[in-house]
């Protein structure tokens, strides 16, 4: 058994629409180790959520949705499973936490019943035992007087509590992997911190791996062990949290880091100029070419591969890696004046 519980190889999710093919995810590769927290960062519309939905096979059932590649979970390709087999995996082995806790619980049932449904379905537990498990889970995620709270309905919960409820549900069957799709985006900052603490604590206690999808670099810095940076349907840089935050290689990663305020730095924020490319009409060559301050001829012609830089775990998809970093050699840039390099 390898140390990786999930290996995603060349995952592509294309949507065939009337106006053309939207390449929402276009050849994504990453691996998730047992018990680690992997962050997937990128701006809106870069394919983060579609990646997670493709893994869970929540897209791909319609004829307009084309998912290809491999999603190996403990060596088995999830993309080849039947819907029936997937139902057994979802919620039991891999579960999801969604962005909006306000609408991800069913308003017609009390919270306890919804959580208890998981062990009832997946572990065939009798009702009473499942309910006991639900109350246990609510306690675990830090809901006070959980016995009483389990009988309450979602509308009687606050936003943070609902998200805890959703997390309790996703944990109810001891999954190997939780995919958290922007779980803190809809919460205010103090609650965000609590939910992040909770996720880390649960990881430490249960050894569940977490795939954290977010656009918030603060969340990543707080929580993740490794980070993959996504841009326009591809991963452009992947590495440990130190690699990404201290030694970013890809101009996009650098741009992202520069556009976030950091305590102690009194410089002006530098936003990344321009817009991400249209996923229906991707440029030939590197997808970041239009916005990259270091763009070269090669970038326009050929797409860079995700290759190791410095160390085996730190991979970057950028021609600058071959050509040398822009800090050292500014002669390679063309077309545009670079922003002040890091």
């Amino acid at each position: 058994m390898s140390e990786y519980i999930m290996e995603v190889n060349d995952l592509k999710t294309h949507f065939h629409t009337k106006t053309g093919v939207v390449k929402a995810v276009d050849g994504v590769n990453f691996k998730v180790k047992k018990g680690e927290i992997l962050g997937i960062v990128g701006e809106s519309g870069c394919g983060k959520s579609v990646t997670s939905q493709s893994i869970m096979r929540l897209v791909g059932s319609k004829s307009s949705e084309h998912v290809s590649g491999e999603v190996r979970y403990h060596g088995e390709d999830l993309l080849l499973k039947t819907e029936r087999e997937m139902e057994k995996i979802r919620g039991k082995d891999i579960s999801m936490v969604f962005q909006d806790p306000m609408t991800s619980l069913n308003p017609a049932y009390n919270v306890g019943t919804q959580i208890a449904e998981m062990p009832e379905i997946h572990e065939k537990k009798p009702k009473k035992a499942a309910w006991k498990r639900a109350v246990e889970m609510l306690t675990k995620v830090g809901i006070p007087s959980s016995e009483k709270r389990a009988h309450q309905y979602p509308h009687q919960y606050s936003g943070g509590m609902r998200q805890r409820g959703v997390i309790a549900m996703s944990l109810a069957c001891d999954p190997d992997l939780i995919i958290a799709d922007e779980p803190t985006t809809a919460l205010d900052v103090t609650i965000q911190a609590q939910v992040l603490d909770l996720l880390r604590k649960l990881r430490d206690d249960t050894g569940t791996a977490i795939m954290m999808i977010t656009h918030d670099l603060g969340v990543v810095a707080e929580l993740c062990d490794r980070v993959a940076v996504m841009y326009a349907g591809k991963i452009v840089e992947e590495g440990t949290i130190e690699d990404i935050f201290d030694r970013p290689k890809h101009p996009y990663t650098k741009g992202l880091l520069n556009s976030v305020p950091r305590p102690g730095r009194r410089e002006r924020l530098q936003p990344i100029e321009g817009q991400p490319p249209n996923l229906q009409n991707l440029p030939q060559g590197c997808r970041f070419q239009d916005r990259c301050p270091f763009v070269m001829d090669k970038c326009l012609a050929q797409q860079p591969e995700l290759l190791p830089a410095e160390s085996e775990q730190h991979t970057v998809a950028c021609w600058l890696e071959e050509e040398g970093q822009p800090d050292g050699d500014r002669g390679t840039r063309k077309n545009r004046q670079p922003e002040e390099a890091l």
Binding site: M86, E87, G91, F98, T103, A108, M118, I121
Partner: protein, 279 residues
């Protein structure tokens, strides 16, 4: 739940409807206690007697007590209402939920089918079905049930379509809950409110339809104490004995009115927009 009751209570007419509906249901259950005479018992000596202390609402041409027949008629009206609406509720909801949840061609086929049924006038369609099945009370209930099925199918479809894309449905899917379970356990309970309202309104229509079809001689056998049959027979004696037709007519009106106002009140009480205004 208490919210709904609070809203409902504010509407006095709806409250009256609820009260009358309850009264009809009780009358149907304890009919033998309320009716002083056997509704089938004929008595030549007392035929066409006007309202009196002995016969509160008079007697018909065979000397049968009108009050007793109306009380027993409640049983038939409610039975027809509940069973026929039950048929349309179950079949219609099934069609609507399946159509909306699976979408695509399933939806197209089922929706067009209900559209076709919708395009016939209610009573005409019921008449055609009765003509095929033959007159009897059971067939009457089946016919009315079929006629009202498309309404339920449409309402269920609409309700499900709005719920289907809610995040909690995707969440349920991501938790490995099967399609069938999602449909019945997660979507349907959230679409019940409009269906409940439609049930109360349809009960009124069903009672009316039963009366109309019985009036035309397509319902139960002529000696059955059904409001429609009584009305139909009473019309022949309007000049000599107005009470034979008038009192069953009042009973039909009252029942239909009660169900209708109750349904209206329920719809208002279940409307989430109104709920927000008051809180």
């Amino acid at each position: 739940m208490s919210d709904i009751w609070y809203q409902f209570k504010k509407n006095k007419i709806a409250l009256f409807g609820l009260f009358m509906t309850t009264a009809f249901i009780i009358a149907a259950i304890v009919a033998p206690l309320l009716a002083p005479y056997d509704p089938y018992k004929m008595s030549g000596a007392e035929s066409l007697a006007g309202p009196s202390m002995a016969h509160w609402l008079g007697t018909d041409q065979f000397g049968r007590d009108i009050w007793s027949r109306i009380i027993y008629g409640t049983r038939i009206s409610l039975k027809v209402g509940i069973i026929s609406v039950g048929i349309s509720l179950v079949v219609g909801t099934l069609i609507g939920v399946v159509a909306a949840y699976y979408g695509k061609w399933v939806d197209s086929v089922l929706s067009r089918l209900t559209d076709v049924m919708f395009s016939f006038p209610d009573i005409l369609l019921a008449l055609v079905i009765m003509a095929i099945l033959g007159p009897s009370l059971t067939n009457l209930m089946i016919a009315i049930g079929i006629v009202y099925t498309p309404i339920f199918a449409r309402i269920a479809r609409g309700a499900v379509l709005t719920i289907k894309n809610a995040l909690f449905i995707e969440a349920a899917k991501s938790m490995g809950i099967s399609n069938v379970k999602i449909m019945w356990k997660h979507i349907l309970p959230n679409s019940l409110a409009p269906l409940i309202v439609q049930v109360t309104l349809s009960l009124a229509f069903a009672i009316l339809a039963e009366a109309a079809l019985s009036f035309l001689g397509l319902g139960a056998s002529p000696d059955t104490p059904s409001w429609g049959i009584m009305l139909s027979e009473g019309k022949n004696w309007m000049e000599q004995a107005w009470w034979i037709a008038v009192f069953p007519g009042i009973a039909i009106t009252l029942a239909v009115f009660s169900f209708n106002v109750m349904g209206d009140g329920l719809r208002d009480a279940l409307d989430p927009k109104l709920k927000n205004e008051s809180s």
